[in-house]
């Protein structure tokens, strides 16, 4: 039976992503990466503005998030209703979302309406109205969401982990703010957040679809007309502060949510890709990982468990999550410590490395599925500092990794004595 697997692995020849990326510079000097695809008459554009919620002050935490939510709630001559109706007439989907490190703007539109959609989007980015009634309405929705978050064990676990891990740095607080800070945000705070976050400096642009490089350059200049050069300064690097130990947040329910982890690895570290490969073996979000094998498949202690390198622009950590019955928490913690120690001491096997190399190199081309995904990847790769040829050499880099290199990085990354746990629930036998 095992022969089957060995045999099929041999069949898995490495596959090239073969993505033809065109670097585009607009007449005014904006840079973008474009993947042309002329078979379907629409275009997807992704714009990332670096900074995001980290640009907020502590007192006005949540301002960037509320501001971003209001970009589609009225702009120029249009109130919120008129703005949405115009988007519908143009059959475009525009989305604006604020994250911890950046604001993302995604647009999808039919080629025949390209210029009208770009004008519409520019109005949202440069002339948001921040009408008082819109502020009150959206603020109410966000406060309701924060109230739900306060009753959600997964969110509570993530918040507690970040708080202890990053302390007073913006990474230690909730990106969306608290009920108090959000309630205190007025129109002036939103105008200031907008001026500080939506700028040409630190912008990253990806595009895919039925458009040429020249036309894209012209559209981008049209889109960025009136957007100022520079805004607020990003925060300093966040140190990882959590020490080994346990934090319990009592919460009613049959299960506990467990967040666990320790310090991580920066995404510009030369060993980042190697660490990523190691984690894919250990806890990447799939069935075959060590954590899934040990905790789910062999023992039935959870529906799902995973670990991830949380490496942001301004700080990093290595974390994992699972839910389990309250009675199982102690057992699971013990298993995690054992698996962690095994990684630190023995690393992964030659067979595991070969298998993950085949998997990762085979899976990579699958990410480039559709214009919206491709536009998103193009923007995000620039934001993360990759070279334009990275797509076409990334699989070679993974294949070149040796067992020695991989396990040297594993020994550095995994520290069973540093594990910090947050448990949200009523874990049996722990206090």
């Amino acid at each position: 039976m095992k022969i089957w697997i060995a045999l099929f692995v041999l069949l898995a020849a490495p596959l090239r992503a073969e993505v033809a990326i065109t670097p585009v510079t607009s007449p005014s000097g904006l840079n973008a990466w474009l993947v042309e695809e002329h078979s379907i008459p629409f275009v997807a554009i992704e714009v990332i503005f670096a900074g995001g919620a980290t640009l907020d002050s502590d007192e006005q935490a949540g301002a960037v998030n509320l501001m971003t939510s209001l970009l589609s709630e009225g702009a120029g001559e249009m109130d919120a209703q008129a703005f949405a109706a115009r988007s519908e007439e143009l059959a475009t989907s525009l989305s604006f979302s604020a994250g911890r490190d950046s604001i993302s703007v995604s647009a999808r539109f039919l080629v025949e309406d390209a210029e009208a959609v770009i004008d519409h989007l520019r109005t949202a980015l440069t002339q948001p109205r921040f009408d008082e009634d819109a502020i009150a309405r959206v603020r109410g929705q966000i406060v309701a969401q924060l109230r739900r978050d306060a009753l959600d064990p997964n969110t509570l676990a993530s918040q507690a982990f970040a708080r202890t891990a990053f302390g007073a740095h913006p990474y230690g607080r909730e990106s969306n703010g608290t009920a108090e800070t959000v309630a205190s945000l007025d129109r002036d705070a939103l105008i200031a957040a907008h001026r500080g976050a939506i700028t040409r400096n630190g912008v990253f642009i990806g595009a895919a679809g039925d458009i040429t490089a020249e036309d894209l350059g012209l559209l981008l200049d049209r889109l960025f007309e009136g957007i100022p050069e520079a805004g607020r300064e990003p925060p300093p690097h966040a140190e990882f502060l959590a020490e080994a130990g346990l934090e319990i947040i009592p919460f009613d329910g049959p299960q506990s949510v467990v967040a666990f982890g320790h310090a991580g690895i920066a995404r510009d570290d030369p060993d980042f890709l190697t660490a990523f490969v190691v984690n894919e073996v250990f806890g990447g979000g799939r069935f075959g990982t060590r954590l899934m094998q040990s905790v789910r498949t062999e023992r039935g202690l959870t529906y799902g468990i995973g670990a991830f390198l949380s490496s942001g622009a301004y700080g990093e950590s290595y974390q994992g999550r699972l839910s389990t019955d309250n009675a199982n928490v102690e057992t699971v913690m013990e298993l995690l410590r054992e698996e962690w120690a095994r990684m630190a001491e023995e690393g992964i096997s030659a067979e595991e490395l070969a298998r993950i190399q085949t998997y990762l190199t085979g899976a990579y081309p699958l990410r480039f599925d559709g214009n919206s995904s491709i536009a998103g990847i193009m923007a995000s790769m620039q934001y993360q500092g990759f070279d334009i040829d990275y797509v076409n050499i990334r699989n070679d880099l993974i294949e070149a990794l040796t067992l020695e290199e991989v396990n040297a990085v594993a020994a550095q990354l995994y520290d069973p004595d540093a594990l910090f746990f947050v448990i949200v629930g009523q874990p049996v036998g722990l206090n």
Partner: protein
């Protein structure tokens, strides 16, 4: 390892060409009853391979709720020639992704892989269509996994439990009232033997649909399908679907679900209505347009505009139509009020706005915008081979034809404003509905 395949002649070949840009969709049925649908999309070297069985949670024997979903998990636990877990290992080793899903009407298995691995996926999927084999060492821990799954995805989410309670109240006889994952007390008693019985009863080529979407040549894909699936004999145990039907609904049902974990209280209502498969497609299309007009946009739809923007009493208000079900559809509306507005007041306001809409008729500008978005969605959908594969999979699973699925946009475009109002007036019947309040306990202290 596998019997030498015999190529069967196709019984039906339908090639449908959709508007200008669409790639062809081909449908045949093999002699053993397997439906095969091929959707070509040659833009990237990737293919989606899916097998859908026309059996789901609504076909379970009494006392065995959850067995369809339990079997779905056990389908990854090996065959006579493959070790437990090997299926996913092979997919993963080939850089692919695989997963499975269970609904009331269907159970589906899919892999997304580089297109040169399609034959391998077919070989393995055809194997577990007929040769499933597992031992106690596999199914016993897996039963704990599905109980953990119920704990995590349902019992830990108050909205999930509320929804389960609403469904149980809406359906008086039909098994759509039983949760797909099963009732916990019945799941605890499920066995591997029960799952194997369910497998023997319902799995086989004559109860399945194969869908291949992506970077394939249609003729080659059909030939591969014949090679790998064509030799599987039809399962003689497959019987016509027989499920209880709903008796007349004479009185509306109401319930209050209290839980300290409720962050945002809301009102939810579900109406029992026809589905695309059980009713007149034109009427289903009218209900779809009604849902789009009432709740399709978080800004301009009737419920949001009136209750959130104009009257300021809702945080949000919504409408939706669950049409892709074999026996019944569900039309849902709901409202989450702002602080200071009670659930009773919110419900009354929602009903008033719906009644006024049905009285005053459709805003023609809004209607035209919805139509324009539907036309554009047809172009955007071409960008998503997996999404198209899913549409055909669900459609054929619930009894629609390939032509029904392909023609849906045309059916929607044929709907008039008058059709929308007529469908709403006729089908939103309170007697065939359940209304639920999700709220904090009346005199509760938060546990958190």
């Amino acid at each position: 390892m596998f019997a030498r395949p015999i190529a069967f002649a196709a019984l039906i070949v339908v090639s449908l060409l959709r508007p200008a840009h669409a790639e062809p969709v081909t449908h045949i049925q093999l002699e053993n009853g397997l439906d095969v649908v091929v959707i070509e999309d040659r833009r990237a070297p990737v293919v989606v391979h899916m097998v859908w069985y026309r059996v789901g949670a609504a076909d379970e024997p009494p006392l065995q709720s959850g067995i369809a979903h339990f079997l779905e998990h056990l389908m990854f636990k090996g065959t006579e020639t493959m070790a437990p877990g090997a299926f996913s290992e092979v997919v993963e080793a080939n850089g692919g992704r695989d997963n499975a899903f269970t609904s009331w009407d269907y159970t589906g298995y899919f892999q997304r892989v580089a297109s040169d691995r399609l034959a391998l996926m077919m070989e393995m999927e055809a194997d577990r269509m007929q040769n499933l084999a597992f031992t106690d060492a596999e199914w016993l821990p897996e039963r704990d996994v599905i109980l953990e799954e119920r704990g995590q995805v349902l019992e830990s989410r108050v909205g999930g439990q509320f929804n389960e309670t609403m469904m149980a109240a809406l359906f008086k006889a039909h098994p759509y009232g039983i949760p797909i994952i099963g009732w916990r007390h019945e799941m605890e008693d499920l066995t591997g033997e029960m799952a194997m019985d369910f497998y023997r009863q319902h799995y086989g080529p004559n109860n399945a649909i194969l869908i291949v979407a992506g970077d394939v040549d249609t003729a080659e894909a059909l030939e591969l399908a014949r090679t790998h699936y064509g030799a599987i004999p039809p399962n003689p145990n497959i019987a016509p679907i027989a499920r209880p039907s709903e008796p007349p609904h004479l009185a509306e049902r109401r319930l209050v679900f209290e839980d300290p974990r409720v962050g945002t209280p809301y009102v939810s209502r579900m109406y029992l209505v026809p589905s695309r498969a059980s009713g007149d497609p034109a009427e289903a299309a009218a209900l779809q347009m009604l849902a789009a007009l009432l709740g399709g946009s978080s800004t301009t739809s009737v419920l949001e505009r009136r209750l959130n923007f104009e009257e300021g009493i809702a945080l949000s208000a919504w409408a939706g139509y669950n049409s892709m079900m074999r026996d019944y559809g569900m039309f849902s509306v709901g409202i989450a009020p702002v602080d200071g507005v009670t659930l009773e007041e919110a419900e009354a306001a929602m009903d008033r706005v719906i009644a006024e809409f049905l009285q005053e008729g459709v805003d023609l500008e809004q209607f035209e915008r919805v139509r324009r978005q539907i036309r554009a969605s047809e172009i955007y959908a071409l960008d998503d081979a997996q999404g198209r594969a899913r549409q055909f999979g669900v459609g054929l699973s619930i009894g629609l034809s390939v032509e029904d699925v392909e023609g849906w946009i045309d059916t929607l475009e044929a709907v008039t404003p008058e059709d929308v109002i007529a469908a709403g007036a006729r089908l939103l019947d309170r007697r065939a509905s359940v209304t639920g309040y999700l709220t904090q306990p009346q005199s509760a202290e938060l546990s958190q």
